[in-house]
């Protein structure tokens, strides 16, 4: 058992190492094309992500939504569902959380915040469950359903801040922006370090707890076993007494809920108000995080921290050496493509190994086959 797992870990670490090296090379190449010192750029990336209390806080806060979305993706993936609806679920969840936070900010601490978190989860969850229902009831491919629901979700969220009868703050003059009122202190996610430039908030703790929870759910519970069974062989799961339709909806609710918490953490922990287009694509980046982590909750924590650090470092990069932070997008994209390129080979190698050890073979469903 341990030898197999060790080998698995070694292969994954090796491949991810190559991907990162490629990404670093791409970074250096682009910086050099800009005629800027490569060393200074890398230093700025480091300083912006880890070099100070402020930087560290930024990294952790940027990692939070990515981790939530990664967990959302991998829960669905284990059930054989490919959900690329994180972005929409994040918007709907975040919007629901802000609506609740605004409604309940008169309640004693921490009741309002808890209710807002619950609503954030439920909002994203319902958006996910909607895709699950479309798949279970109407046979709409979940890739397509979640993709399309993204844009509906974003528009719904934007609508709530554009309409004064919904969440928009009172329009005082023609220059007032479409945004919600500022959230009261009691319903914000509290900072973990008081009076420090480190602005890390409770979100990262919740996200890591969620990762632990997802890990336990999948590995140690009956529900988790059913989810994995569904992912491996839906027909067999059905025969074994799993109500596939109900399970698909439930899994998508859980997945959507986790993505909803991504939006919730950003809004309640950093932005403190709802604005149109508040997410710069966390819902898509989180999928990349899950991929980099080979869909394990523990790996997702590490990968989310890495991407969080890249995002945080990118901010500094632009200020320090005048290379646009769009560079970070390219780096992320290169990592994703490099990991995707090797994924098939890695899975095949691991599978060949796993057939020796039957119990270990139930590690991961082949996502591609499950999409059918």
């Amino acid at each position: 058992m341990s030898a197999v797992r060790l080998r698995r870990s070694l292969i994954i670490v090796g491949v991810n190492g190559v991907a990162l090296a490629l990404a670093l090379a791409a970074t250096a190449g682009i910086v050099a094309l800009y005629d800027k010192p490569v060393g200074a750029a890398l230093k700025a990336l480091y300083e912006g992500s880890l070099g100070s209390a402020f930087a560290l806080g930024t990294t952790l806060n940027k990692a939070t939504p990515l981790l939530f979305v990664a967990l959302a993706f991998l829960v669905a993936q284990r059930a054989g569902l490919v959900s690329i609806g994180g972005e929409g679920q994040l918007y709907v969840g975040g919007t629901a959380a802000v609506a609740a936070a605004l409604a309940f900010d008169g309640l004693p601490r921490p009741l309002g915040l808890v209710l807002a978190l619950v609503c954030g989860f439920a909002g994203g969850g319902l958006w996910g469950a909607l895709a699950g229902w479309l798949r279970a009831r109407f046979e709409v491919n979940e890739v397509i359903a979640t993709l399309l629901l993204n844009f509906v979700g974003i528009a719904v969220s934007n609508l709530t801040v554009q309409e004064p009868s919904l969440l928009r703050e009172p329009v005082t003059d023609s220059a007032s922006l479409p945004q919600s009122p500022l959230l009261a202190q009691v319903v914000r996610l509290p900072r973990l370090v008081q009076d420090s430039p480190n602005r890390v908030h409770l979100g990262i703790v919740l996200a890591v707890l969620a990762a632990v929870g997802v890990g336990v759910l999948l590995r140690r519970t009956v529900a988790g076993f059913r989810i994995r069974m569904l992912g491996h062989n839906p027909a067999m799961a059905e025969r074994a007494g799993v109500n596939v339709a109900v399970m698909v909806v439930l899994v998508m609710f859980l997945s959507g809920g986790l993505a909803g918490l991504a939006g919730t953490s950003v809004l309640l922990g950093e932005q403190y108000r709802l604005q149109p287009e508040f997410s710069p694509g966390f819902g898509f980046d989180g999928i990349a995080v899950a991929l980099l982590a080979r869909s394990t909750p523990g790996g997702a924590v590490a990968a989310a921290l890495l991407f969080g650090a890249l995002r945080a470092g990118g901010l500094r990069l632009e200020a320090a050496v005048q290379v646009p932070q769009a560079l970070v997008l390219v780096v992320q994209g290169v990592i994703i493509l490099a990991v995707a390129a090797t994924a098939y080979w890695v899975e095949r190698t691991l599978r060949a190994r796993n057939t020796v050890e039957v119990a270990g073979a139930t590690e991961q469903p082949a996502m591609v086959e499950a999409t059918a």
């Binding site: 844009f151 997008l329 994209g333 090797t342 080979w345």
Partner: protein, 310 residues
């Protein structure tokens, strides 16, 4: 909400004209994706491909002074990017959705980097709307559809060609076969991987044309993230159009109309939330899919890499 509307025929004609204009770039991309999906390849990265070829096309047109060169460069850019995706998705059996997401990030990042370093792409020579002889003088229809840019008419021709190729040619049949049952196609002697690569290259060429139709044809230049979701709309159009070229084109028309209405309603003093119009295309596509269940199946092997059983 709605106060005393009186929409003249002229205004309606203008509305359709702008719908057709806005739908044109999306139409090329959607047509390309129709080929890709028919062969079993889903391309979430169309947004990025469109963006990159929009920039390449605008740059080439501006620096050469020739619209034709611009379109050719955009087309080649699209094909090159799809070539890379084909290498990953078909050569290395990588997950198509993940590769698409990666492509979007790389393209958005890279185009922004290039654009910021050159600061401005000089004004590209653009395309002027044509006047198609007596057709342009037909009441209502003339101003709406026969005073469009050349790209619009090329799109109509290409759609007809695509419908013919997919339905009536041996290559089209092979294409659909590898998208439905690659194993059977393989057994019948069709080279599955080769046909899929060809479909992806066609998709790239058309997506490139779509990018150029936007940057050269319409806006005469490039701005950061100018595609703004049109690549995803194209994907939705392919689904809404049930993988059939003319229906896909019609779907693009519907989406273009929703887009045009966003611009028009304020001019008519109708206060309608733009967000509702913006979500309409996607809602329509979803409802259409749910209603037609069973009859609106995507190609059976969509997004599944083909691997020969040993």
């Amino acid at each position: 909400m709605m106060v005393g509307i009186s929409i003249t025929a002229g205004a309606a004609s203008d509305l359709f004209a702008s719908a057709a204009r806005l739908a044109t770039p999306i139409g090329f991309v959607a047509l390309g994706e129709t080929f890709g999906e028919a062969a079993g390849i889903i391309n979430i990265g169309l947004e990025g491909v469109m963006l990159a070829s929009a920039l390449a096309g605008a740059w080439a047109a501006a620096s050469s002074g020739s619209v034709l060169t611009g379109f050719a460069v955009a087309m080649l850019t699209g094909m090159a990017l799809l070539g890379v995706m084909a290498l990953l998705c078909i050569g290395l059996r990588a997950n198509q959705i993940v590769v698409g997401l990666g492509m979007n990030l790389v393209a958005l990042g890279a185009t922004t980097l290039v654009f910021k370093s050159v600061r401005t792409v000089a004004l590209a020579p653009g395309l002027d709307p044509l006047q198609l002889g007596f057709l342009a003088d037909i009441p209502f229809l003339g101003p709406a559809f026969f005073r469009q840019r050349l790209t619009f008419f090329v799109l109509l021709l290409l759609t007809a060609a695509a419908a013919f190729v997919l339905r009536r040619t041996a290559w089209g049949l092979r294409l659909r076969a590898v998208g439905e049952t690659p194993a059977a196609a393989d057994a019948a002697g069709v080279r599955v991987d080769a046909v899929r690569v060809q479909a992806m290259l066609v998709c790239g060429a058309l997506a490139g044309l779509g990018g150029a139709a936007l940057s050269i044809g319409e806006l005469r230049g490039f701005t950061e993230n100018m595609v703004a979701g049109k690549g995803f709309i194209a994907l939705a159009a392919v689904i809404f159009g049930r993988w059939k070229p003319w229906a896909v084109l019609a779907a693009c028309g519907v989406f273009g109309l929703a887009d045009a209405l966003q611009g028009q309603l304020p001019a008519w003093d109708i206060n309608f939330p733009p967000s509702v119009l913006r979500m309409l295309p996607y809602l329509i596509a979803l409802v259409a899919l749910a209603v037609q269940r069973g009859r609106a199946r995507p190609p059976a092997a969509l997004s599944i890499p083909y691997e020969r059983r040993r």
